[in-house]
Amino acid sequence: MDSFFKVFSAAYGGGDGYALADTLSPIAPASQPDKLRRFVHSTNYASVQNDFKYRLLYDKASPLRLNVEEGKAWVEVYVSFWKACVEILQAEAAINDNQKPSWEKVYRAWKEVSDHLNRGYTAAGFENWTVPCLYVVGKYLRMFAIKADEVASSLEQTTIDFNEDLSLDDEQHANLEDAARQLNKVFQLCLSDRASLEESRKWGIYSIINLLFKTYFKLGKITLSKNILNALRAYRGDMPELDAFPLSHQVTFKYYVGVISFLDEKYEECETCLTEAWYMCHKDSLRNKELILTYLIPCHLLTTHTLPSQALLEPYPYLQTLFSPLVRCIKQGDLSGFDAALAAGEDEFVRRRIYLTLERGRDIALRNLLRKVFIAGGFEPAKTGEGSVRRSRIRLVEFAAAVSLGSKETMETDEVECLLANMIYKNLMKGYIAREAGMVVLNKKGAFPGTGI
């Protein structure tokens, strides 16, 4: 208790939100593995309330002079925090005894902490420098909910009720969905603060939004993220600019917005957001950079038709295995290799939701293949006085042969034509098909835009 209050009063007295938030961390730091246990054992159910009250409000020796209402609210927060810690220790003890831990209880207890904290902001005037507490409590709210759901699903309770309408996912993520609702309350709490910007809780908003995004992604309810973005847009005028927030909030937010636009196929928007996130991301946080690249690379394939260099992928073994085979096939114009690589990685691609985007990389592979045919066609017989000109009239069958390379069956010429038509339509190739003549007539200059030919 004593050490706890020392930390609390130092943090509170110094107005250090992050230090204050640390007091609400339910995980003992590595330096003090016993911290939580000692904290729990320092009091008991009967006296916890009075202990906190005394320390926070009536201890004459304490340097703190809290406002009565605010102090009482903090007492509630810490009493509920203490109770949650008791549950956490019990869950951990259960794991040590090889028994099922009740994370559900931990989650419930932790939600109380969150409730009391929210109440502190709405009713007891917690100041805005304390918002890091919301981050910490929100973060663990999500984690405990996930743990509780894991236990619940391992118990396999398949009691679907056939009430008004059926729904599938509810019982698998009951706690996490509850956590999402709770986080949404915190979001509203931050968003609707009408205090002037200097003392506004709005400064906590992006951290909470990021937690919400994470939760929605986990729940597979990504569409809900758009509600958040809409709400944000509606309040745009009264909101500090994004770049005034801590860098970590910005990066995560940009990343999620980027991925959301990626899923909506708004690749331009995605490119902007992810590129910004990429440049702002801390150079050593490889994991985050890897996540950004997972979406930025397929995005670039479509927007700029560019492939990642070996050097870029170097530090990320996961991305190498993910993209290298495809990248190689696209470069070489190896269609059947591309199809094989896409099929081989399908599960992982689909899980990452990049399959549909990568699939379109086939266009680039095809473009490269056709370009090779064009180059292989060589030059027209040189005429006097002119530089060498590439043979620009190419028989359809030449393309047909190239397209069928490596695959066991020969593609019908109609289908080959269709592929060529697509290339022309998408401006990957300049020219036209003269169907009657069975010829493809390519532009003499810039037949394959952007490739130097």
């Binding site: 009250k53 009482k72 679907i160 909506d264 689909v350 939701r353 998408k426 003269a434």
Partner: protein
């Protein structure tokens, strides 16, 4: 300051929960100097009676307000003043209820009495205090809320609880709630110990002030005690509600009629109007026959809806349920009724997930096609992730996936081959986006071919039944001038202007799939 009390809900610590503790933490000088009360009611005189232990701050009662001075003087009866007095008696104040709320309530009560000129006729001494009204309102609100929650949260007894809630809403009396345990039990579950703690001090305080509580409030108090007993488990409910109880399970239908019009339920279903499964089985067969004989879709759809409702209220989930939903989905699909189709599809998804047998592959394939139709990339992604390797090899799903990839790559040649060989009823879904894709393909062709192609080529590539159909399609989109008859057959003139023409038509009907 006064209004912020509302959030200051401080239950006593367990084990120390004496009312003394609570009072100890009350802000030392309570905010009794609020002036709004006086302003509103225009009490201009010192109330005749002041409880000894409570000395109201002088401004609250003595200074006449200019506002009231201008009004025609109302002589407030002593009973009204006593009522106001009683209202702000510290014994009767409750941390839970913000002072502002009490004031508002009090003001309302007195103003309305004064407007109706009932100031003298109302028995102010026995009128419940505003805070009691607020409290009972709150209780009723949570009650209401909880029964709604219960219904939504679905303990499988939706209709029953709904009807009970409806009954509760009507009865203003709080006295008859012993018949319905569920809402309270739910309250107990939801709030755990908290709900108990919140109400305990309230009880105690009420007991203290028993002498001056009135008839009505003591009735309320009695109910609270009853509820307290129930919480403690010392009170067993003996009366059962006549409406079907949670324990009774789902409705068991007894209706022998085969056909029934759909009617949206607004109360608990009457078993006499619900058909049991063996009747429904016959109904399904008869309906299928009627459908084959060309019955009107509106009628068939209505009949299916009533069947689905009967299944739902009886909570029948078995292969027969699947058959009903599948049949309805197919019929809806054939009639282009995407709304009903979707309802069925949603339910089917759950039924399949429960392991019930059916044509799950067929319907999964429809789902893929449906997402292509609506260009729902996100859901398509999710669906792809859900498919197993074995499922992907099954013909209907394979077909739907090929449709998707051919569109994504702009391979209209393959797409229209697939279109002509669609298994099951998928073609009805594909019909809905085939125009869009034909226009996209025409744009493609117009831009890529020069100077023209034979109409026959368009017919084959775009999966038209005949040259005439192809020509009709082109004409429908204002391309008459692009069709030319020559010696070697009918030609379709391509080129950029033609491409632009179809591009415009295509944009008019929405973005086609797969094109960036």
């Amino acid at each position: 300051m006064a209004s912020s009390w509302g959030g200051q809900n401080i239950p006593p610590a367990p084990g120390t929960g004496a009312p003394g503790t609570t009072q100890y933490f009350q802000p030392a000088p309570p905010a009794y100097h609020s002036v709004q009360v006086r302003q509103s009611f225009g009490i201009t005189q010192q109330p005749p009676f002041i409880p000894a232990q409570f000395v109201p701050p002088p401004p609250a009662v003595s200074i006449p307000q200019p506002v009231t001075a201008q009004r025609p003087k109302t002589e407030w009866p002593a009973s009204v003043r006593r009522y106001v007095q009683r209202c702000f008696d510290p014994k009767n104040l409750d941390n839970d209820i913000p002072r502002a709320e009490i004031e508002a309530k009090l003001k309302k009560a007195i103003t309305s009495a004064s407007e109706k000129e009932q100031l003298h006729s109302i028995d102010w001494d026995s009128l419940p205090l505003p805070q009691e009204k607020i409290r009972s309102d709150r209780v009723q609100a949570t009650w209401h809320q909880q029964s709604v929650d219960l219904r939504l949260g679905g303990n499988g007894n939706g209709n029953t609880t709904l009807s009970q809630a409806a009954k509760k809403r009507k009865s203003k009396e709080m006295g008859d709630h012993e018949e319905s345990n569920p809402p309270w039990r739910a309250a107990n579950n939801q709030n755990g110990i908290e709900s108990r703690i919140t109400y305990q001090p309230l009880d105690k305080r009420q007991q203290q002030s028993k002498e001056d509580t009135t008839k009505a409030s003591s009735k309320f108090q009695k109910n609270l005690e009853k509820r307290q007993k129930r919480f403690d488990g010392g009170y067993k409910s003996t009366y059962r509600s006549p409406s079907p109880d949670a324990a009774a399970g789902p409705v068991v239908g007894t209706c022998p009629t085969l056909f029934k019009q759909y009617f949206r339920l607004t109360s608990a279903p009457n078993p006499a109007n619900v058909r049991p499964e063996h009747i429904l089985t016959q109904t399904l067969e008869l309906l299928k026959n009627k459908w084959r004989k060309g019955a009107n879709y509106a009628y068939i759809c209505d009949q299916f809806k009533s069947m689905r409702q009967d299944l739902t209220v009886q909570r029948i989930t078995n292969d027969f349920t699947v058959a009903v939903y599948e049949t309805h989905a197919r019929i809806a699909l054939v009639n282009g009724d995407l709304g009903e189709y979707n309802q069925c599809q949603t339910q089917l998804r759950v039924l399949y997930a429960k392991g019930l047998d059916g044509k799950s592959l067929e319907f999964k394939a429809y789902r893929i096609l449906y997402f292509i139709l609506t260009s729902n990339r996100t859901s398509l992604n999710d669906l792809l992730a859900d498919l197993t390797i074995a499922e992907k090899k099954e013909a209907p799903i394979r077909h739907a996936l090929d449709v998707r990839s051919s569109l994504a790559l702009g391979n209209y040649h393959k797409f229209f081959r697939l279109y002509l060989n669609t298994p099951h009823l998928g073609a009805y879904l594909m019909d809905m986006f085939v125009i869009r894709e034909r226009l996209a393909a025409l744009c493609n062709i117009c831009k890529a071919y020069k100077p023209s192609v034979k109409l026959r080529f368009v017919t084959e590539e775009l999966g038209f039944e005949s040259d005439a159909d192809a020509a009709q399609f082109i004409c429908d989109h204002n391309g008459q001038h692009l069709i030319e008859e020559r010696d070697d057959g009918v030609h379709f003139v391509t080129g950029i202007p033609a491409a632009q023409l179809f591009e415009a038509s295509k944009n008019a009907i929405g973005k086609p799939n797969g094109q960036p």
